[in-house]
């Protein structure tokens, strides 16, 4: 049996009186795109933040390659987290920095890259993502779609092994949404990273996902392939896909 790359085992998380995650079990496999769907406010972003270490479970375990995170040494956790990248729902670009500086930041601050190597890598991303000519602009001077691309460039510039996308297409028109989906798919194919996407773009997002999980009422109600979702007999899953209340 293949050991999942990242695994949630009975993870619970509470904010004051509200229990957001009530015992989540979820497996994420290496090199796949896993999409988490579910109603707004069900804790999908909270789930992502547990993977990157911005939040920690109240109870339950997160396993990396089968090893519980809480049993890993600090160095091992750091090494794992260095392989992760996170693309925020609202991009979280630094508004007082240019697009070039935003994309270069993770390299300039963390790695021992010489300046010319940083420039080369950043310009590669800028070219790949169609941001040429915008490198000296500030995020506020760009359209929503370009800001998304800049955020994606910043997430990919460190050559991550895992990229977490928190609603990467929020606020975009259907054409730009499709572009972002295509970009994610192409980059995932090219660089073979593991992707976890939180998305509401149903059914479009199914076309780029290998696995789909649905979070509802603090629990994973369904986990499987695109076909399995579409063939599912679960009333919650079917109602959500049709955009109806269960």
């Amino acid at each position: 049996m293949v050991v999942p790359f990242i695994q949630f085992v009975d993870v619970k998380k509470r904010f004051k009186t509200q229990e957001v995650l009530k015992g989540v079990h979820l497996s994420i496999h290496r090199g796949e795109i896993t999409t988490i769907i579910g109603k707004s406010g069900t804790g999908k972003s909270v789930l992502l933040k547990h993977i990157i270490g911005l939040m920690h479970p109240d109870s339950g375990h997160i396993l990396i390659n089968g090893e519980p995170v809480h049993l890993l040494s600090r160095e091992k956790i750091k090494a794992f987290q260095k392989k992760l990248s996170y693309m925020f729902q609202d991009n979280a670009l630094f508004d007082s920095m240019t697009i070039y500086e935003n994309i270069a930041l993770p390299l300039a601050e963390n790695r021992d890259y010489p300046r010319n190597r940083i420039r080369e890598k950043v310009m590669n991303q800028i070219t790949e993502l169609g941001l040429l000519g915008s490198e000296e602009k500030f995020p506020a001077q760009l359209s929503g779609g370009m800001r998304k691309r800049a955020a994606l460039a910043r997430a990919l510039v460190i050559d991550p092994e895992v990229v977490l996308f928190d609603e990467p297409t929020t606020g975009l028109d259907p054409i730009r949404k499709k572009n972002v989906h295509t970009m994610i798919k192409e980059h995932q194919k090219k660089f073979e990273f593991t992707a976890v996407i939180v998305s509401h773009d149903i059914p479009d997002i199914f076309n780029i996902s290998q696995r789909i999980a649905m979070l509802d009422e603090g629990l994973i109600q369904f986990e499987g392939s695109k076909q399995e979702v579409l063939d599912s007999h679960s009333t919650i899953v079917n109602a959500f896909i049709r955009g109806e209340e269960a």
Binding site: Y86, F88, A92, L93, P106
Partner: protein, 261 residues
């Protein structure tokens, strides 16, 4: 009723202790990072420019009018005792020991401290601080440490500027406008201001720089914990940062003065 009030007092005490602990850890983390390589030269220069150089005109304006008012008030008080010749000393000692460091710190708090709290607060609510963490960049080192160093450099220099301009302001109103002997004014300044007075003033400005930067950055950094969410939380954090900085400047001024005199 009694139990409820005890519970409330307990809750408030715990929250206050938590807040103090968080503030201390924040300051210690920022302070330790001053000594961790690599030195963040470009950020330190940027912040020194913003905190120090851009405060130049505010300090000059405040300094000259403070000195002029001191010259005017000092003259009319001293003339009653026939000691108007000591005006220079009175103006200079008041400025060097007290008003220079305190007013400089308050002006810089209003100009740069509020900006620090607001900028970091906006970064917090727009997830930019979380973004730093996901990039494995220590946000306290990235945001607070360079500002701390820049303040430690800028505050004493701005205080010196304030003192010099203030003494010139006193000279302007006391000697040029009222007509006190120019030589007497400068002579009493030179004879009565000791190195100990100047060092005391610098010590105060150093302490104030630590207080202002720590409180303003801390308030911005933990905006989400104190004042709810959104733009309103940033405005509340900024207001609180400025008010608390001013209060702590005055409290610490008293404490330092108590030990210096």
């Amino acid at each position: 009723m009694f139990i409820k009030s005890v519970e409330k007092t307990g809750e408030t005490t715990i929250r206050l202790l938590e807040s103090c602990g968080r503030l201390l850890i924040f300051f210690a983390t920022g302070g330790i990072n001053v000594f961790i390589l690599p030195v963040q030269f470009s950020k330190i220069i940027d912040h020194t420019w913003f905190i120090g150089v851009k405060s130049f005109f505010v300090i000059v304006l405040t300094g000259i009018f403070t000195g002029m008012v001191l010259g005017l008030q000092g003259y009319y008080s001293l003339v009653k005792f026939g000691s108007e010749a000591g005006l220079g000393a009175a103006v200079a000692l008041t400025l060097v020991r007290e008003l220079g460091p305190v007013l400089t710190a308050i002006m810089v708090t209003a100009r740069a401290g509020s900006a620090m709290a607001a900028e970091i607060g906006v970064m917090r609510i727009s997830e930019q601080i979380d973004a730093l963490k996901t990039m494995h960049i220590n946000p306290i080192r990235f945001l607070f440490t360079p500002r701390l160093i820049a303040s430690v450099i800028s505050f004493p220099l701005l205080t010196s500027l304030f003192n010099v301009i203030g003494i010139l302001g006193g000279y302007l109103s006391g000697s040029i406008l009222i007509g006190i002997n120019q030589y007497d004014y400068m002579d009493t300044v030179i004879k009565n201001v000791d190195m100990a007075d100047i060092n005391g003033g610098f010590l105060k400005s150093l302490v104030f720089s630590l207080i202002v930067t720590t409180l303003c950055c801390y308030r911005g950094y933990y905006t989400h914990l104190f004042s709810g969410f959104g733009a309103r939380s940033v405005s509340l954090s900024t207001t609180n940062a400025v008010v608390q900085s001013c209060i702590f400047i005055l409290i610490s001024d008293y404490i330092i003065t108590y030990f210096l005199v």
